[in-house]
Symmetry: C2
């Protein structure tokens, strides 16, 4: 597991780095960003994974997410992977749309041709990336949290619900809460996993909670001026599933906020502190 | 003076907007960004102008500058203009380089053909833009501060030194302090103002201070790992000029920081608070 350093910049007393490695899962070079706060020699720090939304790479949250101030103050490592495999030979959406294929891996392991060979973002986030972080960074892997935005909020919630022992803290910004029930999710789960919707349930936060999966608690922020709220995000389905299942959840509608990084950055520090409280 | 709104996004309780207008000075459409914090009806807020560096538009600091948290907390309007005229017919560097022409207006009124018609960034920043801000935003123009990065730090220092009654607070990130003495500045001042270096002095912070211009105080942060420090920025010339002239100045070398927005964003909140203390 060799790691190529593409860039490092000092920021908030720590180091914001960008790294690349050859992924055994996706069979492509994968790029990711890591912020390591200033720390004592030999000290290990908790890790917060951030999964990005449709069209994003590692760079969007790194440039616009405004997480470094809070992560430096709380001494938390922040990891931002890419959202899909990329490169020569990696199949894309047949129609070239933004919501499937490149930049839209949906954090699943595809079973359908031609996507199955490369689109293994579930195993990449669940297995390969944390092993890489553990091997190359001063990370205390007993203290992991996960968050994400939109498609990445879906990824954070579903990965946490399937791996409750791995994560001590879970949050999301404007997540797709029930991909099985919305156009983005139906296209992606159908395209990667096939038409048999029984394979979709473990990639659907609402279905997982309805099926008995539980977390100690979770935090969700959602802007009420988000253009995707009504058709794609449907936050109320998560509220209803949590209420019915007795799943503790703090789900906040934020008046006037949209789907952009202006929204995410506004609430980023609160999310980091929320994770910090559970990772210490 | 009509203003077209290109976008608005709620952020940190306020509004981050992008606006465009037809500039009488540059004879082009000019785009700028304004963040207005949440405020009471009828309340007016102090204004901080941020001048960007080479190659930037209004967007770089808007996306990467991390100023909104501090500006919301301190209730300061943040204004980020473009760095040059742009558009059809606007002349660029004859060799197409990044350090002259488009994205490199250097905050002067050009006297040389073919640049004199459009490259009027001094008058744009000193006259036209503040009038526009006063007319369209809840700004208290009796309380203005100015800051900037690199070429924009040069702009902030020189505009403030020439207009000490307008600005109550002045700071800069990694400024070009003596353009008359460095390659970037010699190319730009020569190209826009001609070879007679006597015209350059009022666009050179060190020369202005040596000539008797004074500010109540000023704040400069400079990374010591900045690739441009030795050849283009030469912070020590400002330190020496201030010491010799008795100009109060807080000039801080920041160990390990480079020229990027990772550096700027790290110290942005401190700069905003420094301005706030002088604007209240």
């Amino acid at each position: 597991m060799t790691l190529e350093t593409l860039s490092t910049n000092k920021a908030y007393g720590g180091v914001q780095g960008v790294y690349r490695h050859d992924s055994a899962e996706t069979k492509t070079a994968m790029t990711f960003a890591v912020f390591v706060p200033d720390h004592e020699p030999g000290e290990t720090l908790p890790v917060l994974f951030y999964l990005s939304g449709l069209t994003c790479t590692h760079a969007n949250v790194m440039e616009k997410g405004e997480y470094r101030a809070a992560c430096a103050a709380e001494k938390i490592i922040f990891v931002a992977p890419d959202t899909s495999p990329r490169g020569e030979g990696v199949p894309d959406d047949p129609e070239g749309k933004y919501d499937f294929g490149l930049g839209a891996g949906f954090y699943v392991d595809a079973t359908q041709a031609p996507f199955a060979a490369n689109y293994r973002m579930r195993s990449y986030i669940e297995q390969e990336l944390p092993a890489l972080i553990a091997a190359h960074f001063p990370a205390d892997m007993a203290r992991q949290g996960i968050t994400g935005h939109s498609m990445g909020g879906h990824g954070a919630l579903t990965i946490a619900l399937r791996n409750p022992d791995r994560f001590r803290s879970v949050s999301a910004f404007a997540p797709i809460v029930a991909p099985s029930q919305v156009p983005w999710g139906q296209k992606a789960l159908g395209g990667y996993l096939g038409d048999d919707a029984s394979a979709w349930a473990q990639h659907d936060a609402v279905a997982l909670i309805e099926g008995g999966a539980r977390l100690p608690d979770l935090l969700v922020d959602q802007g009420d001026a988000d253009n995707f709220l009504e058709q794609e995000l449907k936050t109320h389905l998560l509220e209803e599933a949590c209420a019915k299942a007795g799943q503790p959840a703090t789900i906040r509608m934020q008046p006037g906020y949209d789907h952009s990084y202006y929204f995410i950055s506004t609430f980023m520090a609160e999310h980091v502190r929320w994770h910090a409280a559970r990772l210490k």
